[in-house]
């Protein structure tokens, strides 16, 4: 009898399942083999323990530690773990800069995800038209993803610099946008201590981020498009649907799982973004391009307000969790 590769190597749950299956088959057979299965279970556990411990300490342990620090008074170079309650959080939510950060993150996330989906899907559909040089185009669009956000940030900082960059070209048409130095808040109204509305400067960041990440959603959508059987489209066409309708009623709805994945992946990138902003614009005048990541870095490592920095980190974690947790739960339900 061929020996099954040690189950549980990749995933504990799968391991148990496989072990159960093996057990069912061997139920009628002799005890020696059953012993082997029990042994397999032990192997599964043995293999999972090291990574379980590492994740427990270095991921969840440190998250717990950050949470603990965020409730302490440690706001200088000397550690002070006395309990501060939610004082650090209260300070943050009253702070002009942090309110601006939340506003910027909100608009950045919406615009970034929106444009990445639209441009990724659009390009994927175009490439899917059985182009001749398909690989070439695919690579061209994927290429920006190979760059680090820091490189993207530096390049776009120059391209969108109001006194050089694209503006030297746009000046021919009499338009000279201020890009990331613009301090206007579109549709702004006073809310808390900030003006709430779309900060125009954020658009410059969105352009750079979309340029970088479109290739990713393009690749995902392309894979999705290839996974839709041609018969379905044929059937729709036979039923008299126009090509536009085929896409709107058949293809795009079938791509929904891809869209959900793209949204989740892009959301966690945009909520945690630091490197692009730090390299490209910094906090910006009046904090129009500031994000929680940059604030967290500065408040922790420049100002030595460790508890405040930890509180920002926890808020960021919660923001990301708001997106990720429902996704994971939905996935589990589907699998279950």
């Amino acid at each position: 009898m061929p020996v099954k590769a040690v189950p549980g190597f990749f995933c504990l749950k799968e391991g148990w399942k496989m072990a159960d299956e093996v057990m069912d088959k061997t139920a009628a057979k002799d005890r020696v083999k059953r012993k082997k299965v029990v042994k397999d279970r032990w192997w599964a556990v043995a293999f999972i323990v090291p990574s379980f411990l590492l994740v427990a300490v270095f991921v969840y342990g440190f998250i717990g530690w950050t949470g603990y620090v965020s409730l302490s008074n440690w706001n200088s170079l000397t550690p002070d773990f006395s309990f501060a309650g939610f004082a650090n959080y209260i300070y943050l939510f009253q702070d002009f800069r942090f309110q601006a950060d939340l506003r910027n993150t909100l608009f950045f996330t919406i615009l970034f995800i929106g444009f990445v989906i639209v441009s990724g899907l659009g390009l994927a559909v175009l490439i899917d038209q059985k182009l001749k040089a398909e690989t070439l185009f695919r690579n061209i669009f994927l290429f920006p993803m190979a760059l680090s956000f820091v490189v993207t940030g530096v390049v776009w900082q120059w391209l969108l610099n109001p006194s050089t960059g694209y503006n030297t070209f746009l000046a021919f048409f009499g338009i000279e946008p201020l890009w990331y130095t613009d301090t206007t808040i579109l549709g702004g109204f006073q809310w808390g201590s900030i003006e709430f509305g779309l900060p125009v400067a954020i658009i410059a960041l969105v352009i750079a981020a979309v340029w970088q990440m479109t290739g990713f959603s393009l690749a995902m959508y392309l894979a999705g498009l290839r996974g839709i059987p041609e018969e379905l489209r044929e059937a729709a066409r036979v039923d008299g649907a126009s090509e536009w309708k085929v896409y709107m009623k058949v293809v795009i709805p079938l791509l929904l799982p891809i869209t959900v994945s793209v949204v989740i992946i892009m959301a966690h990138i945009s909520l945690k973004i630091f490197d692009l902003v730090y390299a490209m614009t910094g906090s910006g005048a009046n904090f129009v391009t500031d994000v929680p990541g940059v604030y967290m870095f500065e408040t922790t490592f420049r100002a030595n307000y460790y508890a405040n920095g930890a509180a920002i980190a926890m808020v960021m974690l919660i923001l990301v969790a708001v997106f990720i947790v429902p996704y994971l739960l939905a996935n589990r339900r589907r699998e279950g």
């Binding site: 020996v3 590769a5 040690v6 192997w43 043995a46 293999f47 090291p50 706001n75 200088s76 170079l77 000397t78 550690p79 002009f96 800069r97 900082q157 610099n161 109001p162 006194s163 201020l178 890009w179 990331y180 130095t181 301090t183 614009t281 910094g282 906090s283 910006g284 005048a285 009046n286 904090f287 870095f297 500065e298 408040t299 490592f301 420049r302 100002a303 030595n304 307000y305």
Partner: protein, 438 residues
């Protein structure tokens, strides 16, 4: 069968490997401790090392540091030097690394720190530094630095670091050609500044260049205006909390700050200090307030000559004061070989050491007895001023108040630059100062 036994062997190796790692780790840990103490108490082991932590990675400053290290190694061939410089952001990255190392009880042998609050309110207050009074006695350094400077590196009567260089923060650099063409003189007080600015603007030149992509260049202007209005004593009293931000003179300074910002280049938020200094070099803008590291930039990077390509004058209204930015090096607690680190500090504090380092970096020496002939025209001028004017600590560079307050001050200034709300700026500064002094 074969596959399984391979798996067995592999996994048992893995498990034993982990166990071995744990055991090995603690073994080697205690081993190195023993080694450490033996070499510490022994006669300065031959493989001793001094690790120098700084953010000197720019053109001139790195050359200066290398020259110092070379000098030290010649004098102490049995001690090797590790240059642990961290690049970037006027020391921001280095300070982050340093904080992590100090908190992990892994201090470098000695590290760069600005004299003043950056040293006293943080590392000295956290009880992480050794006092250097005996070292100052031995090296006879006490009267080699101006008293006000020694005060900046002292806390409660104990001295904690050795100043290496001095930069001046209240300098106004200007484009000489622009001033000649328009037949005007550089301003010496604040009223004159506004007159000159009007004329320059009428002539189509940006009067004042500023690059506040990072906020400190704007904060620097504000601190110089505060100094001009308050005078040196009350300026320092302001950071001590003895003069409030509700003082009339502070209100005047804040108003002037707002007016001055009306004369800066429109794209200030997209420029860093080099980009804005370049505007002056190119004649696009007439003046810039910058610390005298800008001289190094003009001379070394842009190839201009002092008093030909660019001129300099004290920031309007502050001719009698010297806004000090000083890099110093101290001795952290918990270093294994303090004697050898002191050897390095003695090279740093020596006349030869300072006269080697500073001409390369473009700063002036902290010692008052340095050899003037080694410095350029600008350096000689500044050395004279350094001895004759009152020395005041810079806020923007962390000498006047703690890093926490500086960060908050930069935030408040950043908001002010856009919103122009004077009341709000003074209020936020006062609140931040109160919080800091609790």
């Amino acid at each position: 069968m074969l596959k399984k036994s391979v798996g067995l062997v592999g996994s048992s190796l893995l498990l034993f490997g982990l166990a071995a790692c744990g055991g090995g780790g603690s073994d080697s840990g205690s081993g190195s401790e023993n080694e450490g103490s033996s070499s510490g108490s022994g006669e300065g082991g031959s493989d001793a090392e001094v690790e120098i932590f700084s953010w000197w990675t720019g053109a001139g400053e790195e050359d200066g540091l290398m020259a110092l290290i070379e000098m030290f190694e010649e004098e102490n061939p049995d001690i090797s030097v590790e240059n642990a410089a961290v690049a970037g952001g006027a020391g921001t990255n280095a300070k982050a690394v340093l904080a992590t190392r100090m908190q992990g009880d892994d201090p470098p042998s000695t590290f760069q720190v600005h004299g003043g609050a950056e040293l006293n309110d943080s590392w000295v207050a956290a009880d992480k530094m050794e006092p250097l009074n005996d070292f100052y006695e031995e090296e006879e350094l006490n009267d080699k630095f101006p008293e006000e400077l020694v005060d900046m590196v002292s806390s409660d009567g104990d001295i904690y670091s050795v100043p290496v260089n001095i930069h001046r923060g209240n300098v106004m650099f200007y484009n000489m050609e622009v001033f000649e063409e328009n037949d005007i003189e550089p301003p010496s007080d604040i009223d004159e500044f506004f007159e000159v600015a009007e004329e320059l603007e009428a002539a189509g030149v940006t009067p004042l260049a500023m690059g506040d992509k990072e906020s400190w260049p704007a904060t620097q202007i504000y601190e110089n205006l505060l100094l001009a209005n308050l005078g040196p004593e009350d300026y320092e009293a302001l950071w001590e909390g003895e003069v409030g931000f509700d003082d009339e003179r502070v209100a005047t300074a804040t108003e002037q700050f707002g007016q001055m910002l009306e004369y800066v280049n429109e794209d200030h938020a997209s420029r860093n200090w080099q980009d804005s200094a370049q505007m002056v070099a190119d004649g696009e803008a007439a003046m810039i307030n910058m610390g005298d590291w800008a001289k190094g930039y003009f001379v070394n990077d842009l190839g201009l000559e002092v008093n030909e390509g660019f001129g300099y004058t004290p920031f309007p209204g502050t001719a009698e004061e010297f806004m000090v930015i000083t890099d110093t090096f101290g001795l952290p607690k918990g270093v294994e070989n303090p004697e050898q680190v002191q050897e390095f500090l003695s090279v740093l504090g020596s006349k030869e050491g300072q006269d080697t380092f500073n001409p390369l970096k473009g700063s002036i020496p902290a010692r008052v007895d340095a050899d003037e002939s080694k410095y350029d025209e600008y350096g000689q001028d500044t050395m004279e001023d350094f001895q004759e004017t009152s020395l005041t600590p810079s806020l923007a560079h962390g000498s006047a108040a703690s890093e926490g307050f500086v960060t908050k001050a930069n935030q408040a200034v950043n908001i002010f630059v856009t919103q122009g709300d004077e009341e709000k700026l003074m209020e936020s500064m006062q609140t931040a100062l109160d919080e800091e002094q609790q």
